[in-house]
Amino acid sequence: MKRVYVNEDWCLGCHLCEYHCSFANSGKSDMVKAFNGNTKTTPRIVIEEGDDINFAVQCRHCDEPLCVKGCIAGALTVTDGVITIDDTRCVGCYTCVLSCPFGCIVTDNEKVIKKCDLCISRTGEPACVKGCPNAAIVFEERG
Amino acid sequence: MLKKEGQIRIPSGCAISGFINRNGKRISGDQIVKSISYMHDRSNGLGGGFAGYGIYPEYKDLYAFHVFYEDSASREETERFLEEHFDIVNLSRIPTKKHKNITNEPLIWRYFLEPLPTKLAASQLEEKEFVAQSVININIKIDGAYVFSSGKNMGVFKAVGFPEDVGEFYRLDEYAGYAWTAHGRYPTNTPGWWGGAHPFALLDYTIVHNGEISSYDANRRFVEMYGYKCTLLTDTEVITYIIDFLNRKHNLSCEDIAKIIAAPFWSKIDTLPAKEKEKALLFRNMFSSLLITGPFSIILGFEGGIMALNDRLKLRSMVAAEKDDMVYIASEECAIRAICPEVDKIWSPKGGEPIIVTLNNGGDSYGN
């Protein structure tokens, strides 16, 4: 299946992916509205920055997803390889945060957790990939 | 005022026809006149002409110069030049018949010549080169004189007018040759000038051509590096020079010439066997500026044969036919059927594939 892959050699640490992710998940029609309003959407992608190296991390959509297996509420499910969260079931216990080996389950002040759904329901192409200026994250089939 | 040939580039559409008897049997000129007349609508009256091979058996070892003069002054100057360089065995006006559609005719003279041995030796040139340079010299340097035919045992007859009228004017029924080519002209950028009519000839090479080549200036600027001077700015002229250059200066055969001027596509070359590929690659690379693109169908006449060739995309019509020892080529089938209703075989040659016909018996070009 197509997944988002990171090539840290090309990540500039510009954080655009974060902003595109937030925007994509904000439900707003315009990026300015998504950020200059009262509520800001937490990005589902995390940038790690080092001295010479940067990279973005988001849900790997594991073949053996520990988050899904450990979910106490049956809120995380896999459909065609894509792991999604059902907001109405999540109780915010964070067992998935405990389980995810990549640290890709994101929490904010809201009750439920947030995670990357590959923008499947919105554009078909992950917004982070589309917004990356240097192809440091790509959406492709590998292996 | 319209510029004439030599002052501006002249594109033109046209009709061509030609035939050859493989066994060298001589055929009356009225046949070729009849053939070309069937393509009347492919001409516009601004030029017609013919080339006949094997027509001067009595002077077969002499160069036959056909010359247009605008006035007697140019004739005198030319004749002085000829006397200086050649032994003039015979000279006369070319016999013509008054024709209501042929007007403004220049003085039309014919000379049977051979180079003066002393002059030839002094020039350190080969005989043919000596003759060719002499022709070019007259044409460039002597105002009002134009040599339009200069081969042995062959002759070009051309004028402003429809080709069938030109044929009558020159009384071609009185000539017989083993090969004939004809041309009806449809130029779009000339008032019509006798010298500009086809065939275009140098030595025994004659070209009749239908088309408008788009590679003209690339071709011209290349051959002009090698002593040619394109004075008429016509396609026919440059094609003739290219053929002369490749055949006479590089000793290349008609087949090879076809591979250069209508070169195979690179994609085709890639598929050839190694040896052929090497040759084709070298030809295209070495003579890249002699590739002729744009539409053309030509009939090249030369001593002992004819070659017909289409551009490699076949952007102009051309059909060929065989009947016994005759081979016919024309822009349209009607022109063949007119003189040979029942053919053995008729076909449309592919673009870039030459039809080369030479006389049997190693070319008894005199047909006796």
Partner: protein, 412 residues
């Protein structure tokens, strides 16, 4: 092939999903002594609190059994396993045959003998849906709730009733709360947080005797209550296994495919023992993720698969009144801890490995630590400077990152 599963909770569901990955046709029968569609036990406090509706307490969608072609026998209690006949005898005397059997009987609350307990009318344990329903039936605004046990269940019960009543007292024999998952500092932080919400704690004390409505503690303190919740601990349901002669220690003994000492009988979940890689010991790890993972491996093994589960560690993610904490592994070793306002983190190293951690407040990306413990990645292979600061992929070597973030076979 006839699969039979005793139990209808996490391990059982894991097993069904495991079996169906390999075998989509054979019959699966599920026995449950409860009468509910499979539901999530940890959700009962949320249900009681009203955060989870009647529909959402279910662990899997309503069409789960039909979609997975399961024959479910609800309200049927298994009383005996007849290994020689290959069948399980139910309370009503009927028998259900199996080719492969999974024991997923879970655990039950431990209620010690306490004087006068039988006189208490509103006394509850807090493990099943029915427990929560029973509490809800009597819970009124201003009910005085007494909870015996300051562990995970007790405190979740406290949170569960909190919406209705703030009058909550928690008593525990230990000197601190959540002793099974937190260290002293951590316990203090959480206790303080709960106390700011109004929960009262009486620690290092225990109920000596009860009358209906009053508990007398060993210290002599008398506590009035309307509702008593006993959350002292749990015991594995191993009787079916031991009675039919399977090897049982504290829990049922299983191998890495969850097979018991009988090749056609498997066991998974809270009723079994697992190997804790953080301490190197066998122990009962009564945790929902562990139950699922064991159930799934058991299901796969029953259907002929070879996947093993051997990276279990104790771990917990839980929150009380908005304060989140995630813990894992063992705290025996060299600890570094950082405490900032509202946040606490402790990382324990031993023998060149990360053995355990506690994160309270900021729990972001804790799973990276969890994986380091489970995968037993040597500390020298990690960026030691970054290790203590926060969990991140940058801790790993470039080649490992490449494998994890750019490679294939993700998550295996």
């Amino acid at each position: 092939m006839n699969y039979l599963i005793i139990g209808n909770s996490t391990a059982a569901i894991g097993a069904v999903e495991g079996i169906r990955r390999l075998d989509t046709t054979s019959s699966i029968t599920i026995l449950s002594d409860e009468t509910y569609h499979t539901y999530s036990r940890p959700l009962i406090s949320y249900w009681l609190e009203g955060k989870v509706s009647d529909e959402k307490i279910f662990y899997r969608p309503q069409d789960f059994y039909s979609a997975n072609k399961c024959n479910v026998l609800l309200g049927k209690k298994a009383v005996k396993i007849d290994r020689s006949e290959g069948e399980v005898i139910l309370e009503d005397g009927s028998a259900v045959a199996y080719d492969k059997l999974l024991i997923a009987t879970g655990s039950r609350p431990f209620v010690p003998l306490m004087e006068g307990l039988d006189t208490v009318s509103n006394k509850f344990t807090f493990m099943k849906y029915d427990d929560a329903k029973a509490v809800k039936a009597v819970l009124k605004p201003d009910s005085k709730v007494l909870i015996i046990g300051a562990g995970l269940i007790g405190l979740k019960a406290a949170e569960g009733v909190y919406k209705m009543t703030k009058d909550i007292t928690v008593v525990d024999l230990a000197d601190r709360i959540l002793p099974s998952i937190l260290d002293n500092e951590g316990s203090n932080i959480v206790q303080k947080h709960l106390e700011t919400k109004g929960v009262r704690f009486i620690l290092s004390d225990k109920a000596a005797k009860f009358t209906d409505g009053t508990a007398i503690l060993e210290s002599g303190t008398a506590l009035d209550f309307d509702i008593l919740i006993i959350a002292i601990g749990v015991r594995p349901n191993t009787e079916l296994a031991s009675e039919c002669g399977l090897e049982v220690n504290k829990g049922i003994i299983v191998d890495s495919t969850c097979k018991t000492s009988d090749a056609s009988i498997y066991a998974a979940g809270d009723c079994t023992e697992s190997f804790d890689v953080s301490t190197g010991t066998e122990k009962i790890l009564a945790l929902l993720p562990n139950a699922y993972m064991q159930g799934e491996v058991a299901g796969l093994a029953m259907a002929g698969g070879t996947k093993t589960y051997e990276k279990a560690i104790p771990m917990n993610a839980i929150g009380f009144f908005g304060l989140h904490m995630i813990t894992a592994g063992s705290y025996d070793g060299d600890a570094t801890s950082i405490q900032t306002e509202g946040n606490y983190k402790k990382l324990v190293l031993k023998d060149g490995l990360v053995k355990g951690y506690i994160m309270i407040g900021d729990v972001a990306r804790a799973g990276i630590y969890t994986s380091i413990i489970k995968e037993q990645i040597p500390v020298p292979d990690l960026d030691s400077e970054l290790l203590a600061s926060k969990p991140q992929m940058m801790l790993f070597s470039k080649s490992r990152r490449l494998q994890n973030l750019g490679g294939v076979n993700v998550g295996n």
